[in-house]
């Protein structure tokens, strides 16, 4: 274990993923260096690491994104490896290269792989060349109406017109058939020109009722690549995943195999090393298309760990140390079912508005097959500067049904007070018929769905509790000396009442 080329890992991240990596390092017998911004001095990753160094002000641009500062800390503390986690510098090829140039081990994808998968256009071309299916369409701008008609006929309706310089839905048109195509092309061009000063528009096939399904891959530097099956991440809000599960409840085995082998092919095409994720759109008709590759550990990696037993963070450490994979594809089997709920400091009833603040009470659920990865505890301040995800609830079951029942049980045990969170929202999802049937798409969360959480609330009890809390607050000095008859007599009377009036 200690023949490793490194023994002290700088973790260039914060929150639950920094805690996750520190745990993996501790299990591998490695020391860790935590870095922290002004607002994170008391954070859990700082307290859990072997070393801790302050790196700057609260805004990420002045701390967690300052690659030079982080590299300097690595040098000063004698760290001989850097793990970037996800987000921040994890897909920054320049930082990866700088770590390597400084003579340290980069626990992530090789810089070339990051670059190869970095741009949407570039990766699309590279994947097409490698025979990986991408969403059919053009990459270059469409020249004229004749070309538009030709391409649309080629790829088949419905299609989507998109502004090349675009974003935010501007210059975007869904077209269902040839009739409206030319006028849609003209208006998309006009809007693109008005919005971005550039009228370039391209066309993609519109994937109907898509699901977001991704394949976890793991590659060593010795030519071995395995996949660890898929994750379904279709339950999204603001295009961000909130609940993931694996296996995907509707994926036929042959599609799984086809998707996985495409993912392995894509991984090999960029000489990948380490843990990575190949994302696909899965159409309602069973067709699937490459979206992008995330060249890092994914937020939702724990559900894959739950069904395969492979500790992906430890695997990253071993592969980065040059070890060949210690298992083969045929050793891996899908064992049961797993669900992750990403717990955000946000208000689902206010369209998921972030809700940073002070966590007053914090109690995680426990018991069989329940895992929580978190970066907070009671008394933690959730800062406004970073992603509002504070914890991940990961639950395993022998079957999907068992897993759902257990996840709901765990959610009921979870207590986070002081800030608003998505816990109640998850409880509502777990009762939704579409979710229970496994029949959902990326459009699952609608404004109506969010309207309120009444069905999982306990309104009357909450009102009683609030009234009692207010009474105790108002009468605080009189707490002990109470009105009415003696405590013990009342106790007996009330116990009797309780027993006999129970419904």
């Amino acid at each position: 274990m200690n023949l490793r080329p490194f023994k002290r890992v700088l973790v260039a991240n914060r929150g639950e993923i920094a805690v996750r990596i520190i745990r993996a390092c501790a299990e591998e017998g490695l020391e860790t260096v935590a870095v922290y911004s002004d607002v994170d001095r008391d954070a859990r990753h700082v307290r859990m690491a072997t070393y801790a160094v302050h790196i700057g002000a609260a805004p990420a641009a002045e701390s967690y994104l300052v690659s030079e500062r982080i590299l300097q800390v690595a040098r000063d503390t004698g760290a001989d490896a850097v793990h970037p986690g996800y987000g921040f510098l994890s897909e920054n090829a320049g930082f990866a290269q700088a770590v390597i140039d400084a003579g340290m081990v980069w626990i992530g994808a090789p810089p070339e792989s990051i670059i190869g998968m970095g741009s949407k256009t570039g990766s699309r071309q590279r994947m097409t060349a490698a025979g990986v299916p991408v969403v059919p369409g053009t990459v270059e701008a469409l020249h004229d109406e004749a070309e538009v008609l030709r391409v649309a006929t080629e790829i088949g309706f419905p299609v989507m017109l998109k502004a090349s310089a675009g974003g935010g839905g501007k210059g975007m048109r869904k077209v269902d058939n040839a009739d409206g195509l030319v006028s849609a092309f003209r208006s998309a061009r006009g809007e693109a020109k008005a919005s971005f000063g550039d009228d370039a528009v391209y066309m993609e096939k519109f994937v109907v009722n898509p699901r977001h399904v991704e394949i976890q891959v793991l590659a060593d530097g010795h030519g071995n690549i395995v996949h660890l099956f898929e994750r379904d991440c279709s339950i999204q809000r603001r295009n961000q995943k909130v609940i993931e599960e694996c296996p995907c409840p509707v994926l036929p085995e042959e599609t799984r195999q086809a998707m996985a082998s495409v993912a392995v092919k894509a991984t090999g095409a960029v000489n990948y090393v380490g843990a990575g994720t190949v994302e696909f759109l899965l159409g309602g008709d069973g067709s699937f298309y490459f979206l992008e590759m995330n060249t890092r550990l994914q937020v939702e990696h724990p559900i894959t760990e739950a069904i395969t037993g492979v500790d992906l963070a430890r695997a990253q450490l071993r592969v980065a140390a040059g070890e060949p994979l210690w298992f083969k594809q045929s050793d891996l089997k899908i064992n049961g079912h797993a669900i992750e709920c990403r717990v955000y400091a946000e208000d689902p009833e206010a369209n998921f508005a972030p809700a940073p603040g002070l966590i007053q009470d914090y109690r995680e659920p426990g018991g069989p097959f329940v895992r929580v990865d978190s970066g907070v505890s009671a008394g933690s301040e959730v800062p406004i500067y970073y992603d509002p995800m504070i914890a991940k609830l990961v639950v395993w079951g022998r079957t999907r049904q068992e897993c759902i029942e257990r996840t709901d049980r765990a959610l009921r045990e979870y207590r986070i007070t002081g800030i608003k969170t998505s816990l109640g929202f998850f409880r509502k999802v777990l009762r939704d018929e579409r979710f229970l049937a496994g029949e959902y798409t990326t459009g699952f969360i609608t404004p109506e769905f969010l309207e309120d959480l009444e069905e999982v609330r306990s309104d009357e009890v909450a009102c009683i509790a609030a009234a009692i809390a207010q009474l105790d607050h108002d009468l605080k000095p009189a707490r002990a000396a109470s009105s009415g008859s003696g405590g013990s007599n009342w106790k007996r009377a009330a116990t009797w009442r309780s027993t006999h009036r129970m419904r």
Binding site: T417, I464, S483, K491
Partner: protein, 167 residues
Amino acid sequence: MHYDVTLDGKTRSVEIERVGEDYVRVVIDDGEPVVVERRALSGGMSLVIDGKSFDAGLVKREAGWDVSILGVQHPVEVLDPRKKALRLAGGAGEGKLKSSMPGRVVSILVEDGAVVEKGQAVIIIEAMKMENEVKAPVSGTVSGIQVTPGQAVDAGAPLLTITAESE
């Protein structure tokens, strides 16, 4: 003691008194009285209501309590007679709109005197890298805008006032 207890727009009239160290007698909306056994615990209280057990997390807010039960939060407003009188005197229809989160004001979508519908976005505040619309809680007329674009605001900072239409 009497409280008006409001949750999700529904107000309950609660008559409540202590009847022993651990016991409280509660009457809701003139219904049957219930004796509740409650134990104050760190971060909340354990309640046994008519034999049923509930574990509630409690956080004091300006206007009441946030109550967490079985993973779900209930923002409950509690008004005692004195506060109720004050509120009535202050004009029921006027509401100060406050920022629900710390952040930065991106833009103000209305002007003084504008008439807005309930649910209409009036201000955009950026927090945690996302833009969030602050919506009018009631239909009415905007006055007293207290922030400017670019300004940093704390949670609870007053933004503007909306005076409800008279019914």
